[in-house]
Symmetry: C2
Subunit: 339 residues, 2 copies
Amino acid sequence: MRLSELGEFGLIRRLQEACAAANDRVILGIGDDAAVIRCGEDGRLVLTTDAMVEGVHFERAWYPPDSLGWKCLAVNLSDVAAMGASPICCVVTAALPESWSVEETEALYAGLKRCADRYRCPVVGGDTVRSTAGAVFSVAVLGEMTGTSEIRRSGAAAGDRICVTGVLGGAAVGLNVLCSGGKDRDRFSESVRRLLEPLPRAETGVRLARSGGVTSMIDISDGLTSELRHLCEASGLGCLLYADRVPVSAETASWAAESGKSPVGLALESGEEYELLFTVNPSVRIDTAGPGFIGPEDTVTVIGEMRPPEDGMRIREGGVDSTLRVRGWDHYRSASGNS
Amino acid sequence: MRLSELGEFGLIRRLQEACAAANDRVILGIGDDAAVIRCGEDGRLVLTTDAMVEGVHFERAWYPPDSLGWKCLAVNLSDVAAMGASPICCVVTAALPESWSVEETEALYAGLKRCADRYRCPVVGGDTVRSTAGAVFSVAVLGEMTGTSEIRRSGAAAGDRICVTGVLGGAAVGLNVLCSGGKDRDRFSESVRRLLEPLPRAETGVRLARSGGVTSMIDISDGLTSELRHLCEASGLGCLLYADRVPVSAETASWAAESGKSPVGLALESGEEYELLFTVNPSVRIDTAGPGFIGPEDTVTVIGEMRPPEDGMRIREGGVDSTLRVRGWDHYRSASGNS
């Protein structure tokens, strides 16, 4: 059997099965945004890794090395945030083809450093190896829970509200703009920035964990519907998504109008958004002005509710409920569609 | 400037400079076998990462996926051991070409699991991505110091004895045997095993740290002379290596005799040995039977002494002292020779 037949998630399940054995230090292993490890009396560490591969996650033609360095760390910080944890430090592996210049490599490290400084997650080690083909960057981040338990994917209950930070769709627009030669770059600059240098919701994730009302959380790396399916599967629930409430970025709305695409469709399927998708106990007030819940710079939108498992995954659009079509990015399949 | 002009160690220095900033949690950053991070009142964690790249570290034609899974974790455990630390858990990134079969991938994970079980270092997370060319595996291991401080590269003093665990040369012999079609595989099975599935000195590293007499330590991944130079540079010292005392494996001696090569030369330059090279205060007795120093299954050989910096790096061979020629593996240069 080829890997493309099994698919990325099938492969992750096999890895999970193969490596299921743990020790008494491991509180949570494979299957969430990060692993959770016991440390000392009551300390909890998180550990996560994520890679970027040339030709899969980026093309050298349109990805400035400086932004690449930023993003490779940022996507890991997003995973740490999705647990409600704070970063401590990171290590990086850079497998670089000989054709890379020293200047490009230094720009890569400068972008990595910029992100490390911004999020206080110093690079404490790394491995630099030659690659015989494209470049591969892999970052692992160590983080810690500070005063709260981790927020897992599995903690949602039927009736919980489904919420998302920020506005969606920009990463898909940015990718389209760059892949079509970049001529509309200036008009869609925020979308391009979002794709090239995402801002992980680091502080927001910690605040959400401390709020006490968040029951499950995940970051949007593969697309909202795909991540929502992870929350439903891990929590053993169904859901109802309110399509009309999904927050769409202004540039996404413009680009969709010009391209004849559905703005909500883009927002639902756009990967690499690095917003947080989470569920909240309905007795907790979701209010950006709410004391200590989330900061004033964050926006949170209620976009649905968790339902009993027998309801399945549904979407309400223009008052009509139908089955939610889940689409996300699968690295071994050019497009993955499962309902 | 091309990366091949700068070389691997030049690149690591640039990364080190670029990422020098740390925070109060980082006790030791880039530049040793692993980083050391403060955790809680008096806890110390270590974090390290190491990658294996197809076409650079291995060829698919002669590397069974099961052994590859083992080795990718083992080389990281060797780094943890070289700090005197114990592993807690690891995360893995596997960038696999679509041409890999599911069976090969499962064998890879099975080998990883076998090593994880043997050394009690469970796989707690990972990222599986498509690679557009060769396979790249990157593992990051989290470990901890248990009751001792970490052993750094920089702690040696003039007069300290230079010691090495085990016997050397096997990895070079194994590589030669496999690269020449493997027809002598059975006769050099221990060397091939050593190359394909190295046994990191996990318990030995911890025992050495607890002995109280070890002043500096590093693992042999790039070759003994290259690692010795790291100890000399980090400690600001010179050294005198006793060539005649360097422990050579029996198979290395046989292979060298048949091939007209110098057995000691092979032992000095063979990379991927994953033995520990360390320095010991001369007042501490180096004795395999010494209580608590190292275990009965370990052999330790004194192969030289640290000297004042003005002596430089020297080698004594047949009673004659000369400048030690340092050779090691540089991934961006097919052969690297510096004196």
